[in-house]
């Protein structure tokens, strides 16, 4: 009997010891995670994720300077620009939708093959399959579709906002031009994506659009031929527009986005106050 109670007290003692060793709170875990070589090598001094961030001017400045994402922003911004009714966040939301569309788009690429033609209508079948049997496939496709329409809309509103604030005036003229190019690229992104489901809606909408392009003076027919990969929409068009949609146009867009954001800072930050 006494052996039994000895054993029990031993277990109890052992448990107490382990309890003492174990990190007792979230704060302890946080400290041990933050206080090692790897963590410190990832987050530069002053990062808000490092140990010992204090809410001082210096650390606030370092937080913006030492994070590649926050680094899009300057350390300080004009106070009036914070007001939601000044920008309505439209530029930022357009960019965010671009990111969201990239993420959802990459997901969709796993389940989509840009192949069409009699007997091998893989594109359309993949679309059906995506909705029917891929986990979250239907939701992600919806997000990609509505996000795309929304992005055209927010880019358009962003342009209107910038115009009414006279924010294109010197020294920001060139950035306005970059913005107009980005508007065009957004439309191209949306339009090239419109064909990919390869349903009746897709090919006839694109037929209408490309027929208009064919009326470009001098080299209209050539442009149309190159874009369609033939005289009319077919499997070649689908492959071309797929590559344009997932690779070429996003690539060009990212370059212009980089210039656009960089110039905002070079031109003295947000415009105004009015």
């Amino acid at each position: 009997m006494s052996r039994m109670s000895d054993f029990l007290s031993d277990v109890k003692k052992r448990r107490e010891e382990l309890k003492a060793k174990r990190p007792s709170s979230f704060g302890d875990v946080k400290t041990s995670v933050q206080d090692n070589v790897i963590w410190k090598s990832i987050f530069r001094p002053g990062s808000i994720y490092r140990k010992g961030y204090r809410d001082t001017s210096r650390d606030r400045a370092l937080a913006a300077m030492n994070n590649v994402l926050y680094h899009l922003h300057p350390v300080k911004v004009k106070r009036h620009g914070l007001k939601l009714t000044y920008t309505y966040c439209l530029g930022g939301l357009s960019f965010f939708l671009f990111i969201l569309l990239t993420i959802t788009g990459i997901f969709l690429m796993f389940f989509y093959r840009p192949t069409a033609g009699a007997g091998s209508e893989l594109a359309y079948l993949d679309m059906r399959n995506l909705s029917a049997s891929v986990t979250f496939g239907h939701l992600v496709r919806n997000m990609h579709r509505w996000g795309a329409h929304l992005m055209v809309f927010t880019v358009f509103l962003h342009m209107a906002r910038v115009f009414y604030h006279g924010a294109y005036k010197p020294p920001r003229e060139f950035n306005w031009v970059v913005g107009v190019i980005l508007l065009t690229l957004t439309l191209l992104l949306s339009f090239t994506g419109y064909l990919l489901p390869w349903d009746q809606l897709a090919i006839w909408a694109v037929t209408v659009g490309t027929e208009m392009m064919g009326f470009t003076p001098v080299f209209g027919k050539q442009v149309q031929f190159v874009l369609l990969g033939g005289v009319e929409i077919g499997p070649n068009t689908l492959l071309r527009w797929y590559v344009l949609h997932v690779l070429f146009v996003p690539f060009v867009t990212v370059i212009f986005l980089a210039v656009h954001f960089w110039r905002i800072r070079k031109d003295g930050g947000i415009s105004g106050p009015l």
């Binding site: 926050y70 939601l84 939301l93 359309y124 919806n142 358009f156 208009m212 009015l274």
Partner: protein, 281 residues
């Protein structure tokens, strides 16, 4: 050890009577007392006359060997050197004197430019007045990006995610029948943002509606930043620009709406509340 310097009481009283402050009076009275002591000890006071200076110089040259005097004059040909008049020390003599006074510790007795150098000073740079930066930035009302701006942006991001998610949950993206190039749907419509142009096709030649108007439109839009020379950004100062922009935005919207909702089979005019919608996103 050091004795407290006595105050010359006579001088002190006179300065106080003149209205000098106590501090100045005390200092001057001390100086007067020191001067008196020197005179009593037979020491000379004050600056030497030019003749006495010359004598002292000659005495120094005699002491230090005399040879340096001729070597010094006319030695340096560099920019910042002057011909040394005979009445002054040459650089070599000055160097000798400095090193003697520093105890001849071997490093020339000099900091920076060597004492033996003929250069008495150095030219660092010539700066034209225009090269001096005039900083005239205005004080601006600024706040830290972190946390003020980043929090607003984060909330906007979450809100947008919510909007997209909820919309996607309740509204399905259209997926029609398999593409069939031989079966033209009626009506065939472009994506909504091109429906304004498709509407224009009803009124103009395709080259005008499909190429000229959007092409010129985009170029004019881009050029607006260079055409608009009005420096003001205030709405009350740019009524024309705002009116023109509003006009074109409204026109564009009207055409998009017309093409989207008021065009049915054959792209003919319909009333959506009578004939229904012929529109898909």
């Amino acid at each position: 050890m050091s004795e407290e310097v006595q105050i010359d009481q006579e001088v002190y009283d006179r300065l106080i009577a003149e209205g000098k402050s106590e501090r100045i009076a005390r200092a001057k009275a001390k100086a007067a007392s020191v001067r008196k002591g020197k005179v009593a000890a037979g020491q000379e006071l004050g600056p030497k006359s030019p003749e006495e200076n010359q004598q002292a110089l000659a005495a120094f040259r005699e002491r230090s060997g005399g040879g340096a005097a001729t070597a010094g004059a006319g030695g340096g040909a560099a920019t910042a050197t002057k011909e040394v008049p005979a009445s002054r020390l040459s650089p070599e003599e000055r160097a000798a004197r400095v090193s003697a006074s520093l105890g001849g510790n071997g490093n020339g007795g000099s900091i920076g430019v060597p004492a033996s150098s003929a250069h008495t000073h150095r030219l660092l740079a010539l700066v034209p007045p225009a090269g001096i930066q005039q900083v005239q930035s205005k004080q601006q009302d600024k706040v830290y990006t972190w946390p003020h701006l980043l929090i607003v942006e984060f909330v906007a991001l979450l809100a947008m995610t919510a909007v997209v998610l909820v919309t996607s949950f309740f509204l399905d993206a259209p997926l029609g029948a398999l593409a069939n190039p031989n079966l033209t749907p009626n009506p065939s419509k472009a994506p909504w943002y091109f429906l304004g142009l498709q509407e224009l096709l009803r009124y103009f030649h395709p080259m005008v509606a499909g190429v000229t108007i959007p092409g010129v439109g985009l170029i004019v839009l881009g050029a607006a930043a260079y055409v608009d020379k009005n420096p003001s950004a205030k709405p009350e100062n740019r009524k024309f620009a705002n009116m023109a922009m509003t006009f074109f935005l409204v026109m564009w919207t009207v055409f998009v709406f017309a093409g989207s909702f008021f065009r049915g089979p054959g792209f003919n005019w319909v009333w959506p509340w009578v004939d229904g919608l012929f529109f898909e996103l």
